[in-house]
C-alpha cells in the first residue's frame, strides 16, 4: 500500500470511527497534501500561534464596544467537526495539552496534524500519541495522486464483533515491536473493527488486522522483533531453526501481521532500527525547546496602539476611557454603556526570560577520550540536575576522527540524557574546527528558537585534523582559528576548558579569538567541571 493509499484508508477509518483520534500527515505544503485534504469534510483550521482566547473564546471587542453590551466569541475548540492543525511541528506545549484534553474529553473529535518538520522536528509527543495514524507524503509525486477510493457498502460499526483473541494478539505484537504505549494497542483494535466495517464485513478477518497494524504500529515501532535481527548471525539460512519455546500455533497470525508492519515501516525508521539505534521510541521534545519568548510570560504594562498590533488589553483600555465618560456621554446621550474610542485602545505586552542552552563540545579523540567523555557526561547530568531553577538546556557534540557528531540534542530532561548518553564513542584525530562549527550551527539554530546559547569546549590538545579531512597540523590550526573567528562574529558566548596536564598556548589563542574565557582544568572530573562552568557563567 503506498503512502497515498494509506492516507485515504486512514481518513476513511477516521470517518468511520472518530475515536481513532486522527492522522499526522508529514509532508511539505503542496498539491499532494492538498489532494489528501480535499477529501476531508468541512473542518476548522488551527495554527500553532493561536492563544487561549482564540481557542477558548473570549470577548468580541469590536462588537462589544460598538453595541455597548457584552458580546462573546465562540472559541475555535467549541466548533464541531474535524480540526486541521497546520505547521503542527511548531505547536507549543500549551496548544498540545489543550488539544489533547479536547480529544480526550470528546471521543468524537478528529485532528489532522500537518507536520512540515525537517529532520528531528516533529509535533509534540503528547499529541502524536493520541492520533492513531501517520503517513509520510514527502516522496509522493504529482503523478501518484489518485482520487479517494470508493469503498464497498460499509457496514454498521456497532455491529462489528471483536474476535476473542484479538486483544491478546495485538498486545503481544506491540511488545515485540517495542511499543510501550497502550493507547496504540487500543487504536489497533478500533482500526481493525473500523476496517472491517469499511469493507462491509461484520466479522473482522485477517486482512482487517494486517491493515490496522500496518497503519497504527508501523511508525511507532522502536525495535525489530528479536528473531529478525538474529537471523543473519545465526545458523546458515539453509537449516531454518524452529522458533525457540514459542507456541507455533499462536505465533502464526502474529507473524503475518508482523510482516505487514515491517512492510509498512517508514524507510528512515527501518534504517535507524537496523543500525541498532533504537532511540527507545520516546524522544521527548525536551520541554521549552520550541518556546520562543516574548509571547507569554509576565505581562508588562500595556501600551497604546490599535488592535492590529497585538492583543487588546481590555482593562487598560477601560481605564484609559474612564476619564472621558462624562464628556462623551454628553456628545451621544442616546447610548448606554461606556463610551470607548479607538484612541483608548491599549495592547498587551509580555516579557519572558529566554532559556539558556549550554552546548558541550567535547574532544573525543585520543587515548584520554573515554575518561573525558565520561566526565563531560557526568558534568552535564549534574548541571541538569542542579540547574532547573536557572532553566538551562544542554546539548552535547563530540568531535573526533573526520568530523563532529551531535550526541544529545538540546534538552532539559535528565531522563532523556541518561538514555541517550549510555555509551559514547571515542578515539581518533582532533578536528577542533569541525567541532566548533557544529557547535556554532547549533547555537544559531537555538537562537532562532529563542534560547541563549553558550558553547563549552573541552579538549586537551591541538587541532590535528583540518576541515577537509586531511591530517595536517598547520592547516588544522588555521581552520580552528577561522572557526573561532566565526564564533566571535556570531557573538556566541564561549568557554574553552583545557583538560591537558599543562596549558596549551594554541587553545588559549583560540579562546582569545572567540572572545571567551579559557579555563585550564587538568584531570577534570564531573563535579569540578560543573562547578567551573557554573562559576564561569555567573561571572
Amino acid at each position: 500500500m503506498n503512502q497515498l493509499a494509506r492516507a485515504h484508508t486512514a481518513l476513511a477509518l477516521l470517518a468511520m470511527d472518530p475515536a481513532l483520534g486522527g492522522l499526522v500527515i508529514r509532508a511539505r505544503a503542496g498539491a499532494v497534501r492538498d489532494a489528501v485534504l480535499a477529501a476531508l469534510p468541512p473542518h476548522t483550521r488551527l495554527r500553532p500561534a493561536m492563544g487561549a482566547e482564540a481557542l477558548e473564546g473570549g470577548i468580541d471587542v469590536s462588537a462589544t464596544l460598538s453595541s455597548g453590551t457584552l458580546t462573546q466569541t465562540r472559541g475555535l475548540l467549541a466548533r464541531s467537526g474535524a480540526f486541521v492543525l497546520a505547521m503542527a511541528e511548531r505547536a507549543e506545549p500549551y496548544l498540545a495539552a489543550r488539544l489533547a484534553a479536547t480529544l480526550d474529553a470528546e471521543g468524537a473529535r478528529i485532528l489532522i496534524a500537518l507536520d512540515e518538520g525537517i529532520g528531528e522536528e516533529a509535533l509534540p509527543p503528547a499529541l502524536s500519541d493520541r492520533l492513531a495514524f501517520r503517513v509520510d507524503l514527502e516522496d509522493c509525486a504529482l503523478g501518484d495522486i489518485t482520487p479517494a477510493p470508493i469503498w464497498p457498502a460499509p457496514a454498521l460499526l456497532a455491529q462489528v464483533c471483536t474476535p476473542d483473541d484479538l486483544a491478546h494478539t495485538l498486545v503481544l505484537l506491540a511488545v515485540r515491536l517495542g511499543i510501550t504505549s497502550l493507547r496504540a494497542v487500543g487504536f489497533a483494535l478500533r482500526a481493525t473493527r473500523a476496517h472491517a466495517a469499511l469493507m462491509g464485513r461484520l466479522e473482522p478477518i485477517e486482512d482487517d488486522m494486517t491493515a490496522a497494524v500496518a497503519l497504527v504500529f508501523a511508525h511507532r515501532a522502536t525495535q525489530l522483533p528479536a528473531q529478525q535481527e538474529d537471523a543473519p548471525n545465526d545458523s546458515p539460512p539453509e537449516e531454518p531453526q524452529t522458533p525457540p519455546d514459542e507456541e507455533h500455533q499462536e505465533s502464526l497470525p502474529q507473524d503475518i501481521m508482523l510482516d505487514a508492519v515491517l512492510a509498512a515501516l517508514p524507510p528512515d525508521l527501518l534504517a535507524k532500527l537496523n543500525a541498532g539505534g533504537t532511540d527507545r521510541g520516546a524522544s521527548g521534545s525536551g520541554a521549552g525547546q520550541k518556546k520562543i519568548g516574548n509571547r507569554r510570560g509576565r505581562p508588562l504594562p500595556a501600551r497604546d496602539g490599535g488592535p492590529a498590533q497585538g492583543r487588546v488589553d481590555l482593562i487598560a483600555t477601560l481605564r484609559a476611557a474612564i476619564p472621558w465618560q462624562t464628556l462623551r456621554a454628553r456628545e451621544a446621550p442616546h447610548r448606554t454603556g461606556p463610551h470607548i474610542r479607538a484612541i483608548d485602545l491599549r495592547r498587551k505586552r509580555y516579557v519572558d526570560l529566554s532559556d539558556r542552552l549550554l552546548i558541550f563540545t567535547v574532544d573525543a579523540s585520543g587515548s584520554a577520550a573515554m575518561a573525558r567523555m565520561g566526565e563531560a557526561k557526568g558534568a552535564i547530568e549534574l548541571l541538569l540536575a542542579e540547574a532547573y531553577a536557572r532553566r538551562d538546556h544542554v546539548a552535547l557534540i563530540a568531535f573526533r576522527g573526520a568530523g563532529a557528531e551531535m550526541l544529545l540534542e538540546p534538552t532539559r530532561s535528565l531522563v532523556q540524557t541518561k538514555r541517550k548518553l549510555a555509551d559514547l564513542p571515542g578515539g581518533g584525530a582532533t578536528p577542533l574546527a569541525a567541532g566548533l562549527l557544529a557547535a556554532l550551527a547549533m547555537a544559531q539554530q537555538a537562537r532562532r528558537k529563542g534560547l541563549t546559547p553558550t558553547i563549552i569546549t573541552l579538549t586537551d590538545g591541538r587541532a590535528n585534523m583540518a576541515l577537509d579531512g586531511t591530517a595536517n597540523r598547520a592547516e588544522a590550526s588555521a581552520d580552528a582559528r577561522t572557526a573561532a573567528r566565526a564564533l566571535c562574529a556570531a557573538r556566541v558566548e564561549a568557554i574553552v576548558i583545557d583538560t591537558g596536564r599543562k596549558s596549551e598556548p594554541a587553545l588559549m589563542q583560540i579562546a582569545d579569538i572567540i572572545g571567551g574565557s579559557y579555563l585550564p582544568l587538568p584531570r577534570a572530573d564531573a563535579r569540578s567541571l560543573s562547578t567551573a562552568v557554573t562559576r564561569a557563567l555567573e561571572d
Binding site: 496548544l95 503528547a126 504505549s181 497502550l182 521527548g284 510570560g297 481590555l314 532547573y388
Partner: protein, 335 residues
C-alpha cells in the same frame, strides 16, 4: 454525557491508586504527583478520582464553596443562608491559563456593561475545599508556579490588581501529572506534593490485555460496563468514608513515631515535611485497611510514596530513588 472511566476499573497501577485513595481519606497529606510515560492512565486516574470523593456541604451561591455562611468572602453576593450538597470540586488548571484565570480578576462583563467594579473569581476559588489538577505540571509557566506555591502555602488567595483588593480562602489538594522526559520539576514545587508516584506501562502481558479489554468495553459496551464498575466505585467510596471516621480513633504508638523519624534521618530527606506526610499517609493507610493501630507494616508500605521525591538527588546514581527508599526502609525497619 459519558461519565469518566471508573477508578476501580483501572488495571494495576496499585501505587497510583493507593496514593489517590490516601489523599481522599486525609486531604491534609497534601496531594499527589504522578510522573510517568505516556499512555499509562495518569489522566484517566485523576479524572476518575472525582467519582470517589464523598460530596461536601457548601453555602449555596458561594464562589469558594464555603462550609459556613461566616466563611464566605465579603465581596461575594450571596442570597441566603441556604446550604446545598455538591460533589467535591476537581478543577482542571490548563497549561496556558493566564494569571487572571487562576487568581480571578476584574469582572469585565460588569465593568463593560454597567461600569461596575466587581471581582470575578478564578480557578483557585473554585478549587477551594477540593482538588486542583494540573496535567503536564512540569511544563507549567514559572510565574503560575510561583503563584501556586504561595497560595498552597498560605491557603489564601490574595488579589491586588486593577484597583481590586480581594482575598479568599483557597485550600486545595494539588494533583499533578507529567512526563519526566519533557522536563524536571522545581524542588520547591516537588515538595508541595505530599505523595509521589512513578508509573510505567505494565510489563505483564495478561495485564496489558486486560487494560485493552476494559477500555474497549468502556467504549463499546458503556452501560453494562458502568453498572459493573460504578458499583465497585461506590464500595470504595464507602470504605473511604469509613476510613475518614476510623482515622480519628486510630492509635499511634510511640514506636511508630520513632520509626518514622529514624527512617527520615536514614534517608536524609530534607525538612520535617517528609516526616509529617509519612505519618499522615501511614495513618490513613491503616484506617483504610481497617486496622486499629498504626504498625511498622503500614509505614513500610507507604514510605516510598511519601519520601521518594524528597531525597537529595544524586544524578550520578542510575538507580531510581524508589529503589533507594526501598533499600533503606529494609535496612531501618527490617523487611
Amino acid at each position: 454525557m459519558k461519565q469518566p472511566f471508573p477508578f476501580s476499573a483501572i488495571v494495576g497501577q496499585e501505587d497510583m491508586k493507593r496514593a489517590m485513595i490516601l489523599t481522599a481519606i486525609d486531604p491534609g497529606i497534601g496531594g499527589v504527583l504522578v510522573f510517568g510515560d505516556r499512555g499509562t492512565g495518569k489522566s484517566t486516574a485523576v479524572r476518575a478520582l472525582a467519582a470517589l470523593l464523598p460530596p461536601i456541604a457548601a453555602v449555596k451561591g458561594c464562589p469558594v464553596n464555603a462550609a459556613r455562611r461566616a466563611d464566605c468572602p465579603d465581596w461575594a453576593v450571596i442570597a441566603g443562608d441556604e446550604m446545598h450538597e455538591i460533589p467535591t470540586p476537581v478543577v482542571d488548571l490548563p497549561l496556558g491559563a493566564s494569571e487572571d484565570r487562576v487568581t480571578g480578576a476584574l469582572d469585565i462583563e460588569k465593568a463593560l456593561t454597567n461600569g461596575e467594579k466587581a471581582f470575578q473569581p478564578g480557578l483557585l476559588a473554585r478549587a477551594n475545599r477540593g482538588y486542583l489538577y494540573i496535567d503536564e505540571v512540569n511544563l507549567l509557566e514559572d510565574h503560575i508556579v510561583d503563584l501556586l506555591l504561595d497560595v498552597a502555602q498560605s491557603g489564601e488567595n490574595v488579589v491586588e490588581r486593577e484597583g481590586l483588593s480581594i482575598r479568599h480562602a483557597a485550600r486545595f489538594v494539588l494533583v499533578g501529572s507529567g512526563n519526566p522526559e519533557e522536563g524536571e520539576l522545581r524542588p520547591q514545587l516537588l515538595d508541595r506534593f505530599g505523595l509521589s508516584v512513578d508509573v510505567a506501562s505494565p510489563t505483564d502481558i495478561e495485564q496489558r490485555i486486560e487494560v485493552i479489554k476494559r477500555r474497549d468495553a468502556y467504549e463499546n459496551d458503556y452501560t453494562a460496563f458502568m453498572v459493573r464498575w460504578q458499583a465497585e466505585d461506590a464500595m470504595l467510596r464507602d470504605r473511604i468514608t469509613a476510613a475518614r471516621v476510623a482515622l480519628k480513633q486510630l492509635d499511634t504508638p510511640e514506636q511508630s513515631l520513632r520509626d518514622v523519624a529514624e527512617l527520615c534521618i536514614a534517608l536524609g530527606s530534607d525538612g520535617l515535611r517528609g516526616e509529617l506526610t509519612l505519618l499522615k499517609a501511614a495513618r490513613a493507610y491503616a484506617a483504610f485497611r481497617d486496622d486499629t493501630a498504626l504498625t511498622r507494616g503500614h509505614i513500610r508500605d507507604v514510605a516510598a510514596l511519601a519520601l521518594r521525591h524528597r531525597m537529595r538527588r544524586d544524578p550520578l546514581d542510575d538507580a531510581g530513588s524508589g529503589t533507594r527508599v526501598a533499600r533503606i526502609v529494609a535496612e531501618t525497619l527490617g523487611s
